[in-house]
Structure formats: C-alpha cells, structure tokens
Symmetry: C2
C-alpha cells in the first residue's frame, strides 16, 4: 500500500467513525438546561445515572425561613440554580431533580482568586463575596459534563462525576488561587440547619469532613473526602459560631493552618499557586456512613484517573443507559425525548458505599446483602404514576433495586410503612397517599423478581397505620372527613386507588380474602363523589358535603395540587365505574372535552402552584401530577382519537428543548416519564394492572432494547406533526384492536406499528 | 445419718461457707460513696470494671453556662451526684470517675407514679417535677449494685450493669407507674448541647434511640436500645423545641403514642400497670456506632437474664478483678484500699460494640482487629503518674488494650498526636503536656507487648506538633515563654519530663540518635529554674524571669494546679540534678521539709481549686496531681525515712472510708492509684524508668496475684499505726538496700518484707 492510499483509508475511516459517533451519541441530544428556568426545578450539573452525587452550579441561596418566617423566594431555588441569574455562588454536590420541596446542596466548593472572601456576597455586588458573574455564552452542559467561565476570576470550571464522587477541574490564571469550601451553605437553608460540621486536613492533598444537617431531612449525615491534584499551600477557615470550649488554657487558632476545623457555620479556604492556565482537579466523594466510606468510595472510583478519563466514563455510562431507546425523529424531538429520558434516570439515587454499607431509614449502618444496592429519594406521590412504571419496562434491574430499597425502608421504619417521600435515610412525609403500594403492585404485575410475601405484608401494614394521615378515619368511615384534613377528598381518592393495587397484588398472589377486602376499600372513592353535582367533593364526618364549594379552586376545597374538576377523574382503577357515576359515556366525554377546552378564569390559574402558564390546557393542569392520566381516559370511550389529539398537543406545547422547556416541576422524573411513555405511544393509566393505554407516538420510530435481550420497535407510519391520529395498530403484523396493551405483550418484543393520519 | 446430724452438718457447712464468703468478698469492702461529697467527683452507681456504662443516680442538674455565662455551681456536679443533696433527679448511664471537668449524663431514666411530670422540678419543691426525695438510710451501694427508695413514689430502685448495658429494677406500688426518659438532661449541660435526639418505639417492649451532643466532647454519638420486662401500655413525649417541619398538610401528634419522637429537647414517658410490689426491669444498652450496635450489645450481654442474674455477674466481675490483690489489714484499711483499687478500674472505659465496631477519634466507624478492644477516657495529665503504671503492674492485659487504643487514637488523629485528654471519640485538649508518651514509655519499660516502632513514631510525632500548646516556642527557645501561656513554667517542666521518657524509650529500642536528641530536650526544665531564687519561675521570650512573682500563689504565676513551691520539684527524671540545682542535699531536704510543714496563708488555700482543706499538708497539695511524686523524693537523700513518715500520714489523713473520704478529684483513678501503690510500699516517681521508689506499706500483708501466675507477697513485719518507719527490706530473703526497686524484680514474684518500727 502506498502512503497516499494509507492516508486516504485512514481519513475515510476517521470520517466514517466520526460520523457514526455523531449519529450514535444520544448524550449530545440531552439538554440539561431544560427546566432550569422558572418551575422545572432541574439542575444543569452532572451526575451519572441514578448516582449518589449531583454536582451542579448554584446561583443563589435564599433561606427557607428567617426567624421562623417562610421566605417564598426560596422555592425558586429547589435545585439551587435559576437560569435567569447572573452569578454562580459555587458548586455543591447534592441536588434533587425537579422537586417542589427542597433540601441538600451539600458541600459547596468555589474557586476564586485575589483576596480570600468567605461570604458569598450578593448578586447585586458579586465582588462583595466569593461568588462570580458568568454568562450562558460560556456555559455548557451535557450528561456527565458541565463547564462555565467564572468571569470575576477568569477561571474555567468543569465538572464531571462518578457514582459517588463529584469531580471538579478549575483552570486558573497565573498566581495564587483559592478553593472555598462553604459548609454553611445549603438548599433549604435556615438558621440552625447545620447541626455540626467538621473538616480535617489529612495531608497536603486530602481532606475529610462531614456535616450533619436538619433540613427537610430530619437528620442528613453527609460525610465526604476530598483529593486535590496539587498540594495545599496554606489553609484556614472562618467559624461564625461562638465556640463554647476548645481547649483549656490554650485557644487554638483554628482559622490558620489548623487541620481540624469544626462548627455550625464553617467556611474554609485552601490556597494554591498556579502557573498560567494550570488546572486544579478536585475529587469529592460522599458517604452517609463515615469518612472512611467516603475515602473508600473516592479511591475505588477515581484512583489514578484524571478529569478527562472520568468525564469519558461518565459520558459512557449515560450513553449506555440512554441507549436503551433509539429514536428516529427530527433533532428537536430527539432532544426533547433524550432530555426526558435522561431526567428519568437521576432519582432515585444511589445511597450506599462501595463496601456495601449504607445508612438506613432507622439511621443504623446496614450492610447490604450481596448483589443488593440501596437507593434513596422516593417521591412516590409523583413517581408512582409513570416514572416507576417506566423503569419496570426499560430499567428492570434498577427497578428491582429500587423496590428492594423500599422494602428495606418498610422493615427499618418505626411505623412499619413503605416510603411516602423519603430521602437520605429519612421520611419527610410529603404529599399524600401510600403510593409505594402502587409501585410495588406494578413491579409484581410486570414480573419483577422481588419477595412477594414481604411485599404484600409491607403493603398491608402500610395501609393500616391509623395515625398516618387519617387512615383510622378512612377505615372507620370509608373516607377522610373534611374536618380532619384540608385535602380530605384527594386523600380518599388516592387511598381508594392504592387499595385497589393491593387488591390486585393479592389476587395475583392467590390471596382471595385479602383481595376482596381491599377491593371493597377500593370502592371508597365513591364516598367522596357527589352524585348530584357529578364531581368529587369533600364530606364531613356526618356525611354532609362541603358547603360552599368551588369546583375550580385548587385551594381550600379539599384537594391538593388540583381542583375538583381535575381530581374527579382520579379513579384510574375503575374508569367504567367512573363513567357510569358521571352519567354515562356521552356526559363523560363532554366532561373531558370541557376540561381541556374551558376557559379557566385567571384568578384560579394565578393561585395554582408549581406550574407555568404553559402547563395549562383549559382547566387541565399538566404542570402538576393529579391529572397526568386524564388525557388517556378517552380510551374507555368511543372517542380514543381525542386521547391521541390531546397527548400530541401536550407533548408539543409542554415539553421544549430550552431552559423553560418544562411547564412544572420535573418531580423526580415524573414529568419526563410521562413524556417518554407518551412519545412511545402508550401510558400506564393504572399502575398495577399490568397494561398500558395506547395513545399517539411522537417519533417515526422508537426502538426499545429490553433487558431480556428482545427489541420492541414502535413504528409510526406516515408520521408528521399533523398526523396525530392513529388509524390502525398492528402488533407483530396482527391488527391490535384494543385501546390497551399488556406489559407482557411488549416484553416479548417485536413490532408495534401505528398507522398515522391527519384525520380520522 | 439421722436428721439431727444432717441438719447440723448442713448448718455447719452453711455457716462455714458464709464465713468463707464473708472473708473472701473484696467487693464488700468497697464504699462507692467515698468521694461523693465535696470534691471527689465520684459517682456512687454501678459499672463493671472498665465498662462502657456507668449507671448512677444524679441529684441535680446545674447548666454549665446560661447565656454564655459560666455557672460555678455546675462544677460540683461533674459526676451528677452530691451526697448532701436530698433529691434524686434520675439515673443516667454515663459518668466520669472523679474528673475536674464534666460531660456525659446520657439517657436519664426516672420511675414515677401519679401525674406524669416531664420537668425535673426543683430541689426545694420536688413535687414540681419528676424528681424524688430520698434518704441515705435507704441507699446502698457496692460494686455492681446500687439501690435506693424514691420516697415521693414509694418506688425501690435498683441498678446493676454489664459491660455495655445499664440494668434497672424498679419495684412499684399498685397502680399506674411511669418511666420518664429525659433526653434533654445532661451533665455539663447548656442550651444547645443536644444537637439532636431521637427515640423510636420498636415494639411494646423495645425502644431504640440516640442523642448527639456537643458538650465537652465536641460530638458525642450516644446510640441506645431499651428493653422493658413488661409491655408498654401507653407512651408519649414532650418536645420543647419548635419543630420546623414535620409533615405536609398533616402534623403528626408526636406527643401521643407516635413511635418516632425526635427533637433537641425531648422528654418521653412510658406508662405501665403494676400490681402491688411488682417490679419493672429495664435494660439499656449503649453504642457509639448505631442502634443496631446497641441492640446487639443488649442481646449478647443480657438475653434471658434477669436483674438478679446480671447483678450476680457484675459482682463476680468486680470480685474477680479486685482479687488481683489480697490484703491483710484492719477493716477500715481494707475498705479504703479496696475502694481505691475499685476506683482505678473505672476509667479508661470500654468504647466498642460486641461486634468489634467502634467510633474512632476521627468519628469513623472502625472494625477492631481480632483480640483488640477499644477504650476511651484518657485523662493522661492525671493518670500518667500512677494509674497507668499501676495497670502496667496489676492489669497488664487491660493495659495493652489501653495503650493500643492510644496508638489508634494517634493514627486516627488529624494532628498525628496521642491523646491529651480524650473521651468518646473526641480530644478535649484539657490540661497540659503530652504525657501519653510517658504512659507508652512506661508500658514498654515494663515489658508490655505493643508495637514499639509505632509507639516511638507516635511519641516523636506528638512531641513535635508545633501548634499544640507552644511546642513551637518550646523547640525554638527551650522553654515556653510567659507571654504565650499563663501556665508556661508548668508546661516547660512537663514537656522536659515527657521528652525524657521518649529518650528512655528510644534508648531501650537502641536508637541512640533519637535518645540523645530527647535527652537534650529533657534538660529544658533548667530553663525555667531561677538559680538565684532556687525555684522554678516563668521567663519571657527575652529570657527575663517574671516580675513580680509569688512562690505560693497557684494563680497567675505561670503554673497550673500547683504553685512554684510545689512545681519546682517536678523533675522526676533527674532528681539528682534537681538536688544539685537546689543547692545540694541539705538544702533540698530542708526545702522538702518546709513544703510539708510550712503554714500556707489562708488566702492561698482558699484559691486552690479542686481540693478540700484535708488535701493540704503544709504547702503540699495532695488534692491536685503535680506533687504526687514529691513525698517520695526523700529517697534520693540520706533521709528516706521522711518519705515513710509523709506517705503514711497522707494515707491516714487523706483517704477515708466515708462520703468525703477523698481530699480532691479522684481524676479517673489517679488519686486512688497513688493510694494503692503507696499502701503496697512503693510508687512510680518517674514512669518510664521501670522502677519504683520504696515507701512504707500500709497493711500487714498484701499479696499481688500477677498475671504471669506469680505471687508477690508484701509483708510489713510489726505493722501498726505507729510503726511507720522501715528498718530493713528483704526481697526473697536477701537484704534490699536500695531505696528503689525494679518493676522486673517485682514481676518475678516472691516476698518483699518490710520490717517496720515506730522509730528509726
């Protein structure tokens, strides 16, 4: 071969592989900024799929309360970052994905130059503190990688992550530079949140430390270990707390090169000398057990690897997990789809050290059984709807670990309850229902390999804890009376559905007595349905319906994050019954149509929390969860094409590839999971029943690589923006006439072909 | 055999065995009340030898400070109990033995009847709270057992302990009774001490919980598990803290049968129904790791055993450990001796779970190597003198564990230092010097099996931490300048001795360079000796001695817990040099004589802390430690009989079998160890040199059962109160002419015979 030929071949090969790479990289489509503006509450920083560390820039700290007074602005900072802000205060290691309550923001790190500043300063006068101005022009984010220029210091900041380690790379200008570690910073901060913080300089490259906080999580134990790539030249801290006692005659100068700093309000600095353009890499591993755990995590996951290698690993992990689904669509749809898929793989999050130790809900140190991995962050009121069902289809191995973590939670709980809303070894009791039973029933309905007897026991136990949110009243009366709870009707509706899932589970396990008992409880939704009004409506202990009553108001009417109009449709386990209750099919369709088309007076919209105006379609609220199944309810009528129309409209209008691309909180992936399902052309209206309702796919072709090795190919023939209607469906060549499809059918793989059209 | 004969034989047998028992029981001689009045700071309750739990009645809680203002009365309650008090506030599970600073008092339990009261109330009006009146007439204490009648409730309270479990037995009158658990109570309490407390009702017999406190110990993690012998009827709590968030819409009624109580100011109650005279037994196990550790400790140590069985085990443990020494003496001497011996076996205390897990000084969870047991509570400024040397003679297996725990501390320390004053996984930095090096040098000098290389490394590292208490200045100048520390002369003297022990250790390890370097440092005591004055005296950086200067004042003169008169004798490693420095033997003897006989003006005595008037002999202060070796210094002169006279006088006057039987803080056994050594007739003036100075034994015969299986019999021929002088000494029949005796000689066993006389 002559040289020319060689070079040509190599060039062609390089070109081809580059093109192939370009074609194949799903991570390039993900836009981590989506949802960072307004109400999405997503973070733009880095993590690996379901990783323990979510390292991300924070742009402001608004205390959750000052002197006991709630500060409403804090809500905007649930994820620490708001796209409209002009400054970055630092990079902290833990963030929720899209929640409507907040916490975390542990271990804030900020690189600076010039005079050491230990206050963060204000956005108006960034020079008053360690924060820095930045521009979105200099900011990049993709799965496993984030970078920004910190303008005030001319420092390039880059972030990546391993499962348990946040990895920083800061490229400094020539001269002295500093790393600030602010252990007083936090999301959902307030005076007293930090119960104690500790920071040890182990050697000139290594720090260990911890902070124990009482935020939304009652007791959050965050131990950490830090490795710098360069030796520390000098260090110190400021300790804003009055130290009661720190020696006898002596008072150590803890602020100056003293290797053991502690206090409730601790901000430390570390000085380094830099050549022009020299980079400092920092690895920060977390553990909920102890610093030894953090050190072991750091060592195991990062030893001998630099930033670039770890970034490549993080990107590879994301690419691998995102590769579960291939999609043929235009660039925008691909971006929205992969961004949504990405967001479904952040929470639940890993909560276990590499050696198998983890902190349980009982705050004990447990050793996980071989093959088991503990996860935390279960926002089940949100995620029972689609996020967990999605995992039961596309990430079944992970899902088994999630379910087992929930069952461990049950066994470790003082209440013998499954998670309600749990994070970092704590139950925070947020929102309503006991929807973990739905998650478990769905897992068993979809054939996950979990301990069924334990699962059933956990569900039964959870649903009978009388002191939890009026279960006692619910068992006594068949509904939660309005005197007892401001959201009594929502609770009753959701308990009834949850009870149905237990009934279904018991039936599947051939336990007819239990199934019958819970089937009876599952009828309780009828007790808060006013047949005269035709809507759900709270009732008092004497059985009298609420007066006065406003069907449209989300507040003060007995519902939560939804008004009676929306919530009245929350009977996912008995839609035919609901149709009858609402006066038959015609009136049901009319009701659904009205929901999506009526004009909601502005006063109601303005009072609806968590959502942007884009999150409304008539009176239908997509920015909150209670109605997520509602667009699919037409499937039970003779007009399933209205589902097709609505879901395509929701996908088009409410999910966008831009910072304000989400119309409400992502809620630990629920908003995104709704999209992923809907884009595939089906949705789990009633998790636990083992089936999906068919809708209208949003891509020419979607291929799901199932864990069992089979491939499910979803084709939309004649796909276009206009062609939202499904003329026919074929499953493996055979006409599929039902509006429903079983999970078990999909798990066999094959081709699900929708024939699309612009008209019926 | 006819019946009469049978009965007679049985009767004789019973009588004999009772007599034998009576003769043999050392525990019957121990008086746990000794030192509970005034300054002894001992506790009268129960523990097993070196046990993790010290369960004892507390009679008052005086906050250490209120709004940052020190409350001097708190000092009296270092052990929670003062004999003069008339009420008991409850029984808590952790107590120091005789310290001069305080902490602990974890997990207070109090049984009551009548209306549930959750405040402790005041001593003036005990009915205002859960506390109760009591009388010493109804109070008993012996090793492993304590009982009292709580008059306000007619409840008999009995306590015993296992290594990690406090065991309570409360005999109630008929009707409803309560158990109060006050997690806000503590010794060294102040607003904010409890960082967080948690209490879970696991089932009707079982509780788990923890509290994390910041007292003298920066972070003390106390996890616990409780087993009741009867099921709980009803329970609840009061939570004085404003709870920021505990649910979403719901506010749980945490105060009423809610099984997960938490807060910084938590007091819980548990109701039970009792028949007349029915007893409730409560087992409370501790762990510094987690509640699982506590449950495992409880299970392993107490499963299937009731109070009486556990009491018998505790008593047996004490009897076994006290049996290391037999003493022939009158009852009073035996009582004082065994009480002292008992007090030398409380601290250090076990700090490890049955499964080998323990919390290190780095707050990490460590797994102890097989055969290793971690201990805590090292008050080494006190205990390097006699308590540790005593263990190196009579409890060598324990001592090896202590030394290894100290070496682990070194390895886990951020400062790479051995303990200064450490407890519960924390260094509290109390007092001066780095006397752990003495403890380690003495251990190696007496042949304990420890890692010598690690030990030497630890000593060298510790003695070179420049930021610790002016070591930097000390290395630079050869003394600590008075500008830098108010106790600069004491520090210099003690560093010099400590350096000598490192030198001796290095020599023993054949490391002549290190030995020479430290031998040089060991001469630094000369730098704070004013040759004109003939006394130790602080110096400024320029080398100028302090002006004005008061030889007698304990305060403000550069010394701590001792004046220059006393401290000038602190050159235990070079007494001949000191004699020369003081102007030769005659002047040295004169100086010693003056010390013991001069009249100390009342103003000086009144200002001397920690001691009662009985703790003074002239200007010699026995109630504090710096002069403990001084009575033995006559041994280096031609008048060793003065040592004999002084030590017998100190033993007679300053150790008594009564509540105010100690003339100062017991200081983790140092005061008591001084007695045990002195009563045996010798004392370790210079720990690390492998020898003792002979004094005057205080019993007719003392037999030490050495761990090597040999017996050391110390006989005092012609022993009497008056016969304080030693006419001759024979070791195994051979005349022993030296005033010193080697540890190695004693370890061979045999007979050490003192011939006593009333005159010389």
């Amino acid at each position: 071969m002559n040289n020319f030929l060689k070079i040509t071949i190599i060039a062609i090969f390089m070109l081809t592989s580059t093109q192939l790479m370009a074609q194949e990289k799903r991570i390039d489509y993900v836009n981590p900024f989506s949802g960072t503006q307004n109400m999405g509450h997503t973070f733009p920083g880095v993590c690996v799929p379901f990783g323990a560390v979510q390292l991300s820039p924070d742009t402001e700290m608004i205390p959750h309360n000052i002197d006991g007074k709630y500060q409403p602005d804090a809500y905007r900072y649930c994820a620490g970052y708001q796209y409209d802000d002009k400054t970055i205060v630092g990079f902290s290691h833990t963030h929720f994905n899209g929640t409507g309550h907040s916490d975390l923001g542990d271990i804030l790190i900020m690189p600076t130059t010039g005079t050491v500043q230990l206050d963060m300063g204000t956005a108006d006068a960034p020079e008053s503190g360690y924060r820095s101005r930045f521009s979105h022009n200099n900011e990049k984010a993709s799965p496993g990688y984030y970078s920004v220029i910190l303008d005030d210091y001319n420092i390039k900041a880059e972030l990546t992550a391993t499962p348990r380690t946040g990895v920083h790379k800061y490229t400094f200008p020539k001269g002295e530079g500093h790393i600030i570690i602010d252990l007083a910073y936090g999301i959902y901060n307030y005076e007293g949140k930090v119960l104690m913080a500790n920071l040890r300089v182990e050697d000139e490259y290594t720090l260990t430390g911890y902070r124990i906080t009482r935020g939304w999580s009652r007791m959050n134990y965050t131990y950490f270990a830090v490795k710098f790539s360069k030796p520390i030249k000098n260090f110190g801290c400021r300790n804003d707390e009055k130290v009661l006692y720190n020696g006898f005659w002596r008072k150590f100068d803890m602020t100056n090169n003293f290797p053991e700093m502690f206090g409730k309000k601790l901000t430390a600095f570390f000085d380094f000398d830099f050549k022009e353009g020299e980079a400092l890499e920092i690895k920060v591993a977390l553990s909920a057990v102890d610093c030894l755990g953090a050190l072991k995590n750091l060592e195991t996951e990062t030893a001998g690897k630099n930033f670039e290698q770890l970034r490549a690993e993080a990107e590879e992990l994301w690419e691998k997990e995102l590769s579960v689904i291939d999609i043929q669509a235009d660039r925008e749809r691909k971006a929205v789809f992969y961004t949504a898929l990405y967001r479904t793989m952040i929470n639940p999050s890993l909560y276990q050290d590499v050696d198998g130790r983890y902190r349980g809900i009982d705050h004990n140190i447990h050793q996980a059984a071989p093959g088991r991995t503990n996860y935390t962050i279960f926002s089940v009121w949100d995620t029972f709807r689609a996020q967990h069902p999605l995992m039961n289809l596309i990430k079944r191995s992970y899902s088994e670990q999630f379910i087992n973590s929930m069952l461990d939670h049950y066994q470790q709980s003082a209440h013998k309850m499954l998670p309600v809303w749990s994070h970092m070894g704590n139950e925070n009791w947020c929102m309503i229902g006991y929807h973990s039973v739905s998650v478990i029933a769905d897992a068993i309905a979809t054939g996950l390999n979990i301990d069924k007897e334990l699962a059933l026991q956990a569900c039964i136990s959870t649903s009978n804890v009388k002191y939890y949110d009026h279960i006692g009243d619910y068992l006594r009366l068949g509904y939660v009376p309005m005197e007892k709870s401001p959201v009594s009707a929502s609770i009753t509706l959701e308990y009834a559905y949850d009870d149905w899932t237990i009934s279904a589970l018991a039936e599947r396990m051939n336990r007819p007595d239990i199934a019958a008992a819970y089937a009876k409880r599952a009828q309780n939704h009828k007790n808060v349905f006013d047949p005269n009004l035709g809507f759900a409506r709270p009732k008092d202990e004497q059985g009298k319906f609420k007066e006065p009553f406003d069907l449209l108001d989300t507040h003060g009417q007995g519902f939560i994050e939804g008004n009676s109009w929306n919530y009245s449709f929350f009977v996912p386990h008995d839609v035919p019954g609901l149709i009858a209750q609402m006066g038959g099919e015609a009136r049901f369709i009319e009701r659904l149509d009205s929901l999506f088309t009526m004009e909601l007076p502005a006063k109601y919209f303005e009072e609806t929390e968590d959502i942007t105006e884009e999150g409304l379609m008539g009176n239908y609220v997509h920015g909150n969860e209670p109605s997520h199944h509602v667009p699919y309810l037409y499937a039970w009528t003779s007009q399933p094409w209205k589902t097709q129309e609505r879901v395509r409209e929701i996908m088009r209008r409410m999910y966008k590839n831009k910072p304000d691309g989400l119309c409400g909180n992502d809620d630990c992936g629920q908003m995104s999971a709704w999209y992923v399902f809907s884009a595939m052309g089906f949705y789990p209206v009633c998790p636990g029943d083992g089936q999906y309702v068919l809708g209208s796919p949003n891509a020419e072709q979607i291929t799901v690589h199932l864990e069992n090795g089979r491939k499910l190919v979803i084709k939309a023939m004649n796909f276009s923006d206009e062609n939202v209607y499904v003329k026919s469906i074929k499953l493996n060549g055979k006409a599929h006439l039902s509006p429903f499809i079983f999970h078990s059918e999909l798990m066999k793989g094959g081709e699900l072909v929708f024939e699309m059209a612009a008209e019926l």
